[in-house]
């Protein structure tokens, strides 16, 4: 049916229709417009045998971010926006945050504009935009939760916990979660946790994509100690701290040994940040401290002293590929 026919059927002209759109029509139009806008930033990633997955245009010079669990191979990757596709090179991956960064020979699409996470609240509409086929595809839901920083089950540090109830249709991983205005909340992944739609927030993409593009992986700091939480006695002249990390082993030749750490020391803080849990230590040993000398407060024989340790780099884990 042509446009005049459609308008005729509702008893008005096309122009009248735009003036008298009811609320549900306005909503529908706005959703489709946001999907169309965001769709220019969402690409098809051909990197596994069956269905392609999705990716997000990250820069005007051809960087693409996608979900690393959807890549079944490391070479022979292609990225497309419409019917045809262009070769892509894998620059880096981080399984902990489920990110992979690709470089295109010929840039495609355009960068999305990010949403301000401070304005994203539970109950807001959220749209998943993906492109496992030629055109953009979309599912609709609401933001279920927005929380502070968290660590994924695979050990990646994410700047915000973002959960929605959008349906993750096959091939949607690596695609965008957008707000009602088409702005990027983050990258969707069904690989971060089973059965829930989680999103790698834009802040984490901004932080991690350049590192993965440059270094190929996330560097993590390495001390070479085995620790376990231990309850602390009250220490005079210090802010109250109920627990520290008891050193249960020191690897020979490790940065910890070179820095003078001994079995039985209790770690209290690193660079002034209290160490009470394993999480605290893992969070402190981030990429930016690799190669740097850090001040480590330890409790030894009832006295607090400060050691200076040059943090090493943890060897990359062996990479398991899907399929």
């Amino acid at each position: 049916m042509d446009a005049a026919g459609v308008a005729g059927a509702v008893g008005s002209t096309v122009e009248d229709r735009s003036r008298t759109m009811n609320a549900i029509e306005q909503l529908s139009e706005a959703l489709a417009a946001s999907v169309r806008l965001a769709g220019e930033s969402v690409v098809r990633v051909e990197g596994r045998r069956r269905l392609p997955s999705s990716g997000i245009v990250w820069s005007d010079d051809g960087l693409i971010v996608t979900a690393c669990h959807t890549l079944g191979r490391r070479a022979d990757l292609r990225v497309g926006l419409g019917g045809d596709s262009t070769p892509a090179r894998l620059l880096g991956t981080d399984p902990g945050t489920d990110l992979a960064v690709l470089r295109l020979d010929r840039p495609l699409g355009r960068k999305p504009s990010p949403a301000n996470i401070e304005e994203v609240r539970p109950g807001h509409l959220a749209i998943a935009v993906a492109r496992p086929g030629e055109g953009p595809q979309a599912t609709l839901g609401i933001v279920s939760a927005v929380e502070g920083a968290w660590r994924s089950p695979l050990g990646g540090h994410l700047d915000h916990f973002v959960q929605s109830d959008v349906v993750m249709y096959p091939g949607f991983s690596g695609g965008a979660l957008i707000d009602a205005w088409g702005r990027l909340i983050g990258m969707n992944s069904s690989g971060l946790a089973r059965g829930v739609s989680l999103t790698v927030p834009a802040a984490s993409l901004t932080r991690l994509v350049p590192i993965l593009a440059e270094h190929g992986r996330l560097r993590r700091g390495y001390l070479g100690v085995g620790v376990q939480p231990a309850r602390l006695p009250r220490l005079e002249g210090r802010a109250p701290q109920t627990a520290g990390l008891l050193v249960a082993s020191v690897e020979s030749g490790s940065p910890a040994e070179r820095g003078g750490l001994l079995l039985g020391d209790v770690l209290l803080s690193i660079e002034g940040r209290a160490l009470a849990t394993m999480e605290d230590l893992l969070a402190a040993l981030s990429a930016d401290v690799v190669g740097k000398t850090v001040a480590l407060e330890v409790l030894r024989g009832g006295r607090v002293s400060t050691l200076h340790v040059e943090v090493g780099e943890r060897a990359a884990p062996s990479e398991d590929e899907d399929e």
């Binding site: 049916m1 002209t13 009811n22 609320a23 549900i24 529908s28 999907v35 169309r36 953009p136 349906v167």
Partner: protein, 199 residues
């Protein structure tokens, strides 16, 4: 804002009323087996898998059963057209399924799990799925009994026929353009041509 939300809810309810006006239950062997859409006066469109009994009837909610006097079907497309005599609701207004966009709002009506006129709503995931692009993949919850019922867009026009579930959260419908092609090929193009009001 809450006034706008109220308006949204009211508009959805109006759309639901409209969807139900063209909805029939397809009855086979004396049991309601699915839904159908009064496509044109005297013609109901449904899935072939819904009208699979050798003798079918259609029924409006609280209405009497009307015998189907002729069935034309295409099992490969999973479509059937049923000829009836007598009143069976208001013929649907037909929309342009080829103009659907991902993210656009749609509503599906049928008899899910035996509930007459049961509705589900969501957005278009993929408006041109399947081998020939003749399927709509939808972000809504089709259930057994929705089959043969209509998918409507926000102007209240039929753009598809509910056909199957793809998991609990995704519905698949046959586009109205495909239905139209089926009807034309079956020689019913004129008998079922869309109703248009003079502009």
């Amino acid at each position: 804002m809450s006034a706008w939300l109220k308006q949204l809810a009211d508009d959805l309810a109006d759309l639901a009323d409209q969807a139900r006006r063209s909805l029939v239950t397809v009855v086979g062997d004396g049991v309601g087996v699915g839904a159908g859409v009064l496509w044109a006066p005297g013609w109901v469109v449904t899935n072939a898998h819904v009208a699979r009994s050798p003798r079918n009837h259609v029924r409006r909610p609280a209405g009497r059963q009307i015998e189907v006097r002729r069935r034309v079907q295409d099992r490969r497309l999973d479509l059937a057209a049923l000829a009836i005599d007598g009143e069976a609701g208001t013929p649907a207004r037909l929309g342009d399924s080829s103009a659907l966009r991902p993210g656009e709002w749609v509503l599906a009506v049928g008899n899910p799990l035996g509930v007459n006129g049961g509705l589900t709503a969501g957005v278009v995931i993929d408006p041109a799925a399947g081998r020939n692009g003749g399927l709509l993949v939808l972000d809504l919850h089709l259930r057994p009994g929705h089959s043969g019922g209509a998918v409507l867009h926000t102007l209240g026009e039929v753009v598809g026929i509910n056909t199957m579930m793809n998991g609990p959260d995704v519905g698949v419908a046959i586009s109205s353009a495909t239905v139209r092609r089926f009807l034309v090929q079956a020689g019913l193009g004129k008998a079922t041509s869309p109703i248009r009001r003079a502009a």
